[in-house]
């Protein structure tokens, strides 16, 4: 009888830890600290997303950390080059778990407008180097698109979408 009680869902230790897990996920989602990793044009839209009109700070993500040791999410904003690839991979390796990657802009998704037959310098998409959690298309994507990408990452972390979806008009 006691063993059955221990196994029932609302009394076992695993369920108590699962609630703690949800709490941690909520905390992480609410305070994603991005790495300052603006490479090219998308970096300007990332700065605009952090500035006053679009205000990333509403979502807890305005604290851009220059050091990868202090950042949770790497927003790859711009084109990755063969010369830069090693530096990007090193930064990704230096970030501490749990870490996530947002590929912002067409260049980070697939090389963007710089892919042509015979191209010699551009890595066609940052997911050739390490796994990516959210892809935000656009050239450059609007700051609202970046915010939507961060909300999608929050949904991935917590399992539910906590902010209303904008309906197309």
């Amino acid at each position: 009888m006691e063993r059955e009680e221990a196994r029932s869902p609302d009394r076992s230790q695993i369920v108590k830890l699962a609630v703690l897990d949800d709490l941690l996920a909520l905390g992480r989602a609410n305070s994603l600290w991005p790495l300052t990793f603006g490479l090219a044009c998308c970096a300007i839209e990332m700065m605009a997303a952090g500035a006053s009109r679009f205000d990333l700070s509403r979502f807890g993500a305005e604290v851009f950390r220059p050091s990868p040791r202090q950042a949770d999410v790497m927003i790859v904003a711009g084109t990755i080059n063969r010369k830069m690839a090693l530096a990007v991979k090193t930064l990704y390796d230096q970030m501490l778990e749990p870490k996530w990657v947002i590929a912002m802009g067409n260049c980070a998704i697939s090389g963007g407008p710089f892919v042509f037959p015979g191209q010699y310098a551009v890595i066609e998409g940052v997911d050739r180097l390490f796994p990516v959690d959210v892809f935000i298309p656009g050239c450059p994507p609007r700051p609202e698109a970046l915010i939507e990408g961060i909300l999608a990452l929050e949904e991935k972390l917590t399992g539910t979408r906590r902010w209303p979806r904008v309906k197309a008009q």
Partner: protein, 153 residues
């Protein structure tokens, strides 16, 4: 500077001729081509050209290369400008494609250092006397020259 364009062209032409370098300085149509004077010189004369222009207060704008594969030549184009008089001068020099070598002008214009490194990167043109001809825009271990017409990735 209180010379007319034609007087400047004549001064430079006689300066080039003294070096037995060949190359006449011509006045060209600014509205069509975007420059005032043009000259084609032998590769050995580019340093002399740079010094003549340096003495007259010109600044170096850019150095670039062109790969004329059909003619078996490479061309190096030097752009100079004069900030107060507003004149633009283009010096061109053709090199054999199999062995593209040309003296460096980085002793006269320090800004040429980077332009020549980039031209070497893209075309493989060797600038003799350049202090440091490592890859500039390409990765450090690059051994290819992408802007050549026969380049395949």
């Amino acid at each position: 500077m209180n010379l007319t364009l034609q007087q400047l062209a004549d001064q430079l032409s006689s300066g080039f001729a003294r070096e037995t370098a060949g190359g006449v300085v011509r006045v060209v149509d600014y509205a069509r081509t975007g420059c005032h004077l043009e000259a084609a010189v032998w590769p050995s004369a580019v340093v002399c050209a740079a010094e003549l222009l340096d003495q007259r207060g010109f600044a170096l704008d850019t150095i670039t290369g062109v790969d004329w594969i059909a003619e078996g030549e490479m061309e190096v184009i030097y752009d100079y400008f004069h900030a107060t008089a507003g004149w633009r001068i283009v010096i061109r020099s053709r090199l054999p494609r199999g062995n593209p070598e040309i003296p460096t002008i980085s002793g006269v214009f320090p800004g040429a250092d980077w332009h020549e490194r980039e031209t070497h990167d893209f075309f493989g043109i060797r600038f003799l006397g350049h202090p440091d001809l490592r890859p500039f825009l390409l990765p450090e271990d690059a051994d290819y020259h992408p802007l050549r017409k026969d380049f395949t990735a």
